[in-house]
Amino acid sequence: MNEIKMTGFQPDDPNEDPLISVRDLHVRFSTPKGPVHAVRGVSFDLGRERLGIVGESGSGKSQTGRALLRLTAGNGSIEASRMMFDGMDLMKAGAKTMRSIRGSQISMIMQDPKYSLNPVLTVGTQIAESCRRHENVSRPEARKRALAMLETVRIREPEKVYSLYPHQVSGGMGQRIMIAMMLITNPKVMIADEPTSALDVTVQMQVLSLLDDMVRERGMGLVLISHDLNLVSSFCDRVLVMYGGRIMETLDAKHLDRAQHPYTKGLLNCLPRLDGKHDDLPVLKRDPAWLDETQDIAGEAGGR
């Protein structure tokens, strides 16, 4: 907390309106096997901070992130009593308004750069394209800005990397290129869906430090979606723990040890530790009652 206050902004400033405010978000899918209720009443606020959403597969964490950009698949439907972004009602926004928000105001980084970059265009072209699509700039200007962005994400020879194809770059560099592409429009909010899961640990740290800089220097809001509770708690300011489409608990990342909910405790305990002991790991026991609990407490008190 102290670190952040020194850099000039306070995520907990009550006078500042949150960048994103979500109340009672539901995402439902209709599938051949019947309806699936993926997100069940999620509420949270995002300020200029690093917010982590943690959960296992199927917990609805990615669907929560996608619903913010209305990127839910065609067979899904989104419902929310409130979904505001910077004074705009995302629930009422039309397809055209959403297109102008996606990428320029709220960007998203996906898990694997291998699948999110176009394999037949050079990476530089793709970064410049994202710039030209959202702002009215000339080609040479877009190229200049793309090169500057590559430098910002600490790519050593931007000129050389600009003309490479996605298959010629490593995983860590690919993810930096994705970040460059997403940041070139100067978005207010970045949603990062497992941005580092496909990367080696040291590269993972480097990519996270880039995102960290963006939050500090540009006052961006960051939503980091991950399954790695330890990583998220060491990186984020606040953590939402999700299970079965619900928020189980909202925690201050510095005080993970004060987790109250049995699910959070279970998740923490089943992680192997580097303590040289080889005892059996405690196995997480799930309680169906967690899915029915009224989570108003998390929505109101945890939202801020």
């Binding site: 296992e56 597969s57 995983g171 080696d200 640990v201 040291t202 590269v203 993972q204 740290m205 480097q206 996270l208 430090s209 960290d212 399954h227 790695d228 509770l229 330890n230 990583l231 708690s233 060491s234 990186f235 279970g266 998740l267 089943c270 992680l271 192997p272 530790r273 580097l274 303590d275 040289g276 002991k277 080889h278 059996d280 790991l281 405690p282 196995v283 997480l284």
Partner: protein, 258 residues
């Protein structure tokens, strides 16, 4: 039980030649659980693939229980060493039932009492007999990995090679699979070599860890060193620090190891 001397593997030729593994020496005692960690491209999986016979053009010597391995393996020598792969979604045949998958190694090795063996091994890996005639798509990720472990175990091998057995699984499922692996090792007296990029997972299961970088073993860590992080080589220290979570200050000291 396992002795590897001067193991080297080279891919490609001429200018595009890459030495994936250079001069690796390992020695693992019977019943021990040995770990190999490293980042992508460090050659850790290649070592396992050479041992199990997927690559045959390695140089050096690999001795299993004193017997040196040859490039061409006999069927009976393959029985003693089995491997579990990383991705349970990719390593099981989608159109074969669990029963077919588990029976195939028994047919290859001409073992009798197939039904009894399949039922017994399913029970051991914590799956009931109701799973016997299911297809992989009817199983969860954790259940598939249990089938993959059962397939390796059904030949009653002495050595099991684990290539990132839990990295495709959720943390709670990972805990169950790690517990299963350590229980099986105790009951059967198995020798494990486990490869992973996750230092904590290897540290949990193994009592000694080799750290690999660019095809070479840079250091061997003991249990005490895993706890304290008191290691000699800079690369090992960097890996250890990175696995402790996000730390801005420590990141400044990170460097590339060529």
């Amino acid at each position: 039980m396992i002795d590897i001397e001067n193991l080297g593997i080279v891919f490609g030729s001429g200018k595009s030649q890459i030495a994936a593994v250079k001069n690796v020496n390992l020695s693992v005692a019977e019943g021990e659980s040995y770990g190999i960690v490293g980042e992508s491209g460090s050659g850790k999986s290649t070592v396992l693939r050479a041992m199990v016979g997927i690559y045959s053009h390695w140089t050096g010597t690999i001795r299993i229980a004193g017997e040196p391995l040859k490039a061409k393996r006999s069927v009976s020598s393959r029985k003693h060493m089995q491997m579990v792969f990383q991705d349970p979604y990719g390593s099981l045949h989608p159109r074969r039932t669990v029963d077919d998958t588990l029976s195939e190694p028994l047919i290859i090795h001409g073992l009798k009492n197939r039904e009894d063996r399949v039922l017994k091994i399913l029970k051991e890996v914590g799956l009931g007999p109701e799973f016997r005639f299911r297809y992989p798509h009817q199983l969860s990720g954790g259940q598939r990995q249990r089938v993959a472990i059962a397939r390796a175990l059904i030949l009653e091998p002495r050595v099991i090679l684990l290539d990132e057995p839990t990295s495709a699984l959720d943390v709670s499922v990972q805990a169950e699979i790690l517990n299963l692996l350590s229980a099986l090792r105790k009951t059967h007296g198995l020798t494990y070599i486990m490869v992973s990029h996750d230092l904590a997972v290897v540290g949990h299961l193994c009592s000694r860890i080799a750290v690999m970088n660019r095809g070479e073993v840079v250091e061997e860590m003991s249990e005490e060193q895993m706890r304290s992080g008191n290691v000699r080589h800079d690369y090992t220290r960097q890996l250890w620090t990175a696995s402790q979570g996000y730390d801005r200050a420590a990141l400044e000291t990170f460097k590339e190891f060529a």
